[in-house]
Amino acid sequence: MTRPAYRAFSFFGGKGGTGKTTCAAARALALAEEGIRTLVVSTDPAHSLADAFDLPIGDEISLISPNLWAIEIDAEVEAQKYMKGIQEKMLHIVSPVIVDEIKRQIEIAYSSPGAEEAAIFDKFIELMEHLGDPYEAIVFDTAPTGHTLRLLTLPEILGAWLDHLLEKRARAVELMSMVAKYDRDVRQKLETDPITDILGKRKEKFEMARSILTDPEKSAFYFVLNAEKLPILETQRAIRLLRKYGIPIGGVLVNRVIPEGAGTFMEQHRLSQQAYLKTIHETFMDLPITEIPFLDTDIRGMSELNKITKLLKNL
């Protein structure tokens, strides 16, 4: 059996309600059926992966079919794990009086905008690190466009920010050790600066994520859209932005294309779709375009997903 060509990381995104989850699920199933150990991950805070497979999927990785694992990242659970780790470390290092005093601040940061995104991104990086052991491919079902774009461009933005912080800390440490020329204790403490260490590790993680996300051999982003005006415009904008950040685009998937002979009621709709399809082929002529037909039933569960897996086998 020859395995189809695939990239280690594929991302499915697009406007809400276009069928991202269905496509991601079908793609993952297609890979698994080819004997590729595949993990399908939902990063959308409003999860629907469990609905697509019609199986219970939780915030822990579980095997749902031969060669197929699934997880729905729960931002709150991840954030709580992170906070617990910090609090435990704090109890070892800081006096309880201080811990008590800054409890309020921790709460503020914990509920700040972006905390959820950051928690998802952390898990996202953790999963990426696990590639090859045991998963050979990871399929991400991402949140609607805006959210995902922010998530994927985080490494670049935060990388610059971290550089700046590291620079400042290095300068402060340098000056402090100049002053501490006569104080060996302080000097030793500065040699292993935990702040520089932690910021540096963060930076490394972001750089790793960035190098994977921008590697066309490893990753590809697929846009799922319908043959309508607004999804076309939004996809165009999103592709432009991803290209700006150097994230490779794998292709465009047009979902719910009404087939010929669908009856007189659908005929008018079909004709308008055909016009938009033409626009799609013109707009995205440099990208592979896959058309997925509108089925007479809802795509839910393995057997229904199997109806479209063959279309998604060779993306």
Partner: protein, 113 residues
């Protein structure tokens, strides 16, 4: 009578004399370096220390600005630095909130007198 005394002095081991001189010299050196440190070096290190503190305060502002109400895009990630900076955090917050005039603070750094 004079001569033998001179003789005696001359006969004294020379090491003892130089050792004594050595200790005086050491004390003098220490005293001088202390003077120097107090007057010049200390002023210099004080300026550097102040600069280091300023940079660190600014760094704290970038890391934990949201504690003062300034939004921080990575406040979630800076939280993991808290165990190592918590001791500095409370005095820093107080310093930041009690800042009256940055100009006066800066002027205080220089010896205008």
């Amino acid at each position: 009578m004079d001569m033998p005394q001179e003789e005696k002095e001359r006969n004294q081991p020379p090491e003892e004399e130089s050792e004594e001189r050595q200790t005086v010299f050491e004390t003098l050196k220490e005293w001088a370096s202390g003077m120097l440190f107090g007057s010049f070096v200390e002023i210099g290190t004080q300026a550097i220390r102040k600069e280091a503190f300023d940079i660190n305060d600014n760094l704290m502002l970038l890391l934990f600005g949201d504690f003062l109400g300034i939004p921080n895009p990575i406040s979630y990630y800076t939280l993991e630095l808290l165990p190592y900076m918590a001791e500095e955090l409370v005095p820093w917050e107080r310093r930041m909130q009690n800042r009256k005039s940055i100009l006066a603070e800066k002027a205080g750094q220089y010896d205008f007198g």
